[in-house]
């Protein structure tokens, strides 16, 4: 479990993170989203003990990171956005170094290296020099390093940058399986589609502040608007426009020649009424379905309303 309490970080005249409180339960995949400079990296660096907060506390698995850094590191796996690896080592030597640095039991190290190498798809590169690896492979190696000591908490800052689509898919699968095993994951990204359908909770950060935080479905349900996508056949655009305009629960609509998108405030009963109104007006409806809000939709909505 990760617990950030009233966390603030000031750099000279800049407040990078302001009074951030957050609790991520065990097994959760928490996506921290926000534009560049929102304070995501600073938050993650404070969470893993690399930066001392100006105010506030960080606890991982009940251990205060500031007071007992070495003990806390046993539970933390960290991957930064831009990083490098030791080019002169071989893949297995690199992982062996970190396994020893995390003070794993000698007897388990060999097997664990094999396991991690297989989890990250680096089997064929086990004995290869890191110098010759591609960027994507180095990113995989970075992920392997972060999980080598079986941390209960994984802090990942833009982990998918540099990965090809297949590797991204594999990364998601890996993180899901780690989450199923009880690992708590805090992952940051400014590429929202990267976190789509993968995070169980999200936090939206901007200008050092956490604007909204919670489970994805709670946040998407928190707004009263529902987005409905409609399709029809035939020349009914004008009729559709007129029906939508007359309906008082339709807040906003965009109508094309054979499809449209509308923002609706109301329950399922109201939606059924709207559908029958369209049918009664003679529109030959092809589809009428609610579009679930994506993380991107949520972010844009919150960001637009509360910050800009």
């Amino acid at each position: 479990m990760i617990q950030l309490t009233n966390l603030s970080k000031e750099f000279d005249s800049l407040t990078a993170v302001s009074d951030l409180s957050l609790e991520i339960p065990r097994g959760e995949i928490y996506g921290l989203i926000g534009p560049n400079g929102a304070g995501k990296t600073t938050t993650i660096r404070m969470a893993c003990g690399l930066l001392t907060p100006t105010r506030g506390t960080v606890c991982v698995s009940g251990i205060n990171v500031l007071k007992e850094p070495e003990r806390a590191q046993q539970h933390i796996g960290y991957l930064s956005d831009f990083f490098s690896v030791y080019e002169n080592l071989k893949v297995w030597e690199y992982l062996d170094y970190f396994a020893h640095a995390y003070k794993m039991t000698e007897i388990n190290i060999r097997d664990r290296i094999t396991e991690v190498i297989s989890q990250t798809g680096l089997e064929v590169k086990r004995g290869a020099a890191i110098r010759g690896l591609s960027r994507g492979m180095k990113q995989r190696l970075g992920i392997a390093r972060a999980i080598i000591h079986q941390p209960s908490i994984l802090l990942l800052d833009e982990p998918a940058s540099g990965l090809d689509p297949k590797a991204r898919f594999d990364l998601r699968q890996l993180l899901r399986s780690l989450s199923d095993q009880g690992t708590t994951i805090l992952v940051s990204s400014h590429i929202l589609t990267e976190l789509e359908g993968f995070c169980t909770s999200i936090g939206i950060m901007e200008k050092g502040r956490l604007l909204r935080s919670g489970r994805v479905e709670e946040i998407s349900a928190s707004g009263s608007e529902r987005f409905i996508h409609i399709e029809w056949i035939g020349e009914y655009a004008a009729t559709v426009k007129s029906v939508l305009a007359q309906h008082n629960k339709v807040v906003k609509s965009q109508v094309g020649s054979t499809e449209g998108m509308l923002e609706f405030i109301g329950d399922d009963e109201g939606l059924a009424t709207l559908l029958s109104a369209l049918v009664r007006a003679g529109v030959r409806m092809l589809s009428f379905k609610e579009k679930k809000q994506s993380v991107e939709d949520i972010y844009l909505k919150i960001s637009h309303h509360e910050v800009m």
Binding site: S8, E10, F11, D12, S13, T15, S18, D19, R45, C48, G49, L50, L51, T52, T54, R55, P69, E70, Q73, Q74, I76, Y78, S80, F82, F83, S84, V85, Y86, N88, L89, E93, Y97, F98, H100, A101, Y102, K103, R145
Partner: protein, 537 residues
């Protein structure tokens, strides 16, 4: 943890000493040792040849010397070979250690691998040991390759095993000392300033090697910083006149003095590295508050300890020109002036080492506003600790004067004068350090360097102004210097109390400046806090 199992050491071992490289290095070392051997042999043969030529020319005494030399020729060759090998190993190991360690942490910062090391469970001590021994691993390997040849040469030259072991202990101690100095330097450098690390390392190397020159000073023991001094002494080379290392005037062997200096200074360096190695760059502060006082006291104490007023340097003997008594040319005043000058430099250096980062200073200010912190708190301004350091430095200086009272006679007013001079030094240093601290709170780029340069500019300008006054009157120029600079530390003790009107005026002026700087710092902190609170609200 055993150092050969230290993951950081093993990493260096694996990445820098792969089989191919090790074998290549072994071959190169073998060839170089052979070449050095040939050069030594050639040198020995040349000397013999020269002697043969002299013997042919002059007969008698020279023939006898030639016979002796020919008998000793082989042993002399081995002795020379052994000595040269030891010196080469010292040079390689110390230079390599310093240079590689000086780029270690800043290099990792640059390559962006440093954060991963910091987030492992390696403790600061393990990380430091791994780097200290691992970074120069190739140099240690070179030395290890040389050991068998050195042993053969040493035994052939009739050098005892204990002697050889002592030489290696000295070489390794000096390498560890300069390596820790390099690592300390590297911990203070940002990722972008790797070049600065190399320049700094070369500077440090020059200082350590050049410390040999202290043999002829009033602090001869400091020459033991240079491994050359101790190794020469170990090989039995003597200078004319012979110079000995001394502690409170008592002779001590050079190798012991070297080890004492390496251990005591190394301990300070290691304390600073261990305290800071896992910190983020912006949070690095070489010395804590109490360490500031301790370090200033230690440095002053070491200087008192090493001081030895050599008789030939204290008096000008006039025997050749008449039968008059010797004239004293080095007295307590000179000792005090030297110590005050060094004290000023030490105080300024520890002041810089204890500057508070902006963020910590803001946190301290916030706590102070809420009455949760006081002036002496860890995150506060460094000046109260500098004053404390100044007081202890004065105490050590008085102690030194007391110890040497027989050799350097003093008058009763002397302690008063030194107190005034110490006060002046302290006030000026506090002003300068607060100025640099203020620079750190501004938006200046590289505030430390710029602040330092501004101070240099100030002192040069003061000297020019005083120089202009010197055209009309020397006394006026002295007064100007007294007001603008701590020049009263050079004032002659025989002229009475140094606390003249101009010194008092200078003190008042500097105290006003200190107050203004404190006010400026407080205002900047308050305005920054107000902005942050507004943003937070």
């Amino acid at each position: 943890m055993r150092f050969w199992l230290n993951p950081e050491f093993v990493r260096h071992l694996r990445s820098e000493l792969r089989r191919t490289r090790a074998l290549t290095m072994l071959a190169i070392v073998g060839i170089i040792c052979l070449l050095v051997g040939l050069a030594c042999w050639n040198s020995q043969q040349n000397r013999l040849e020269e002697m043969r030529r002299l013997a042919l020319q002059f007969d008698g005494h020279w023939n006898q010397r030639l016979t002796e030399m020919e008998e000793r020729s082989l042993a002399e060759f081995w002795k020379l070979y052994y000595g040269v090998l030891i010196f080469i190993q010292t040079a390689v190991l110390t230079f390599w250690s310093l240079l590689s360690c000086a780029q270690s942490i800043s290099g990792e910062r640059e390559r962006k691998t440093w954060d991963f090391q910091r987030t492992t469970r390696l403790t600061s001590v393990e990380l430091m040991l791994g780097k200290l021994l691992g970074e120069p691993i190739l140099a240690y390997f070179i030395v290890a390759c040389c050991v068998p040849i050195t042993l053969i040469a040493g035994f052939a030259a009739d050098v005892s095993l204990l002697h050889i072991v002592l030489a290696y202990v000295l070489v390794i101690c000096s390498a560890l000392f300069v390596g820790s100095a390099g690592l300390w330097l590297s911990s203070l450098l940002e990722s972008r300033s790797r070049g600065l690390g190399i320049i700094g390392a070369l500077g440090l190397y020059a200082v350590v090697a050049g410390a040999y020159g202290f043999r002829d000073s009033n602090f001869p023991g400091l020459a033991a910083f240079s491994p050359i001094t101790s190794l020469l002494s170990l090989f039995g080379y003597q200078t004319d006149p012979p110079v000995q290392a001394r502690l409170f005037g008592k002779p001590i062997s050079w190798p012991v003095m070297s080890v004492l200096l390496y251990v005591s200074f190394g301990a300070w360096l290691i304390a600073m590295i261990v305290d800071n190695i896992k910190r983020d760059y912006d949070e690095v502060r070489p010395l804590s508050r109490w360490q500031t006082v301790g370090c200033a006291t230690f440095l002053n104490f070491v200087l008192c300890l090493e001081f030895y007023p050599r008789p030939d340097r204290m008096f000008l003997f006039t025997a050749g020109f008449g039968s008059g008594p010797p004239i004293r040319i080095f007295g307590a005043h000179d000792f005090a002036t030297t110590m005050l000058l060094i004290d000023a430099a030490v105080l300024f250096a520890v002041g810089l080492a204890t500057l508070t980062p902006y963020e910590q200073l803001k946190a301290w200010r916030r706590r102070r506003t809420n009455e949760q912190a006081n002036m002496l708190s860890e995150g506060g301004l460094p000046w109260p600790w500098l004053v404390l350091s100044g007081m202890t430095a004065y105490g050590v200086l008085s102690f030194g004067l007391f110890i040497w009272r027989k050799e350097l006679p003093i008058e009763a007013r002397f302690f008063g004068n030194v107190a005034v001079q110490s006060l002046v030094v302290c006030v000026f240093v506090v002003r300068d350090v607060l100025f640099v601290q203020w620079c750190r709170l501004t938006r200046l780029r590289s505030p430390l360097i710029k602040g330092f340069l501004y101070l240099c500019l100030y002192y040069v300008a003061s000297a020019i102004v005083a120089g202009l006054f010197a055209f009309s009157s020397y006394t006026e120029s002295q007064h100007v210097l007294n007001v603008l600079t701590p020049s009263c530390i050079f004032a002659s003790q025989s002229a009475g109390l140094v606390f003249s009107g101009s010194v008092a005026l200078g003190l008042i002026l500097q105290l006003i400046l200190v107050a203004l700087l404190l006010r400026a710092i407080t205002a900047r902190l308050n305005s920054s806090l107000t902005t942050h609170d507004a943003v937070a609200a």
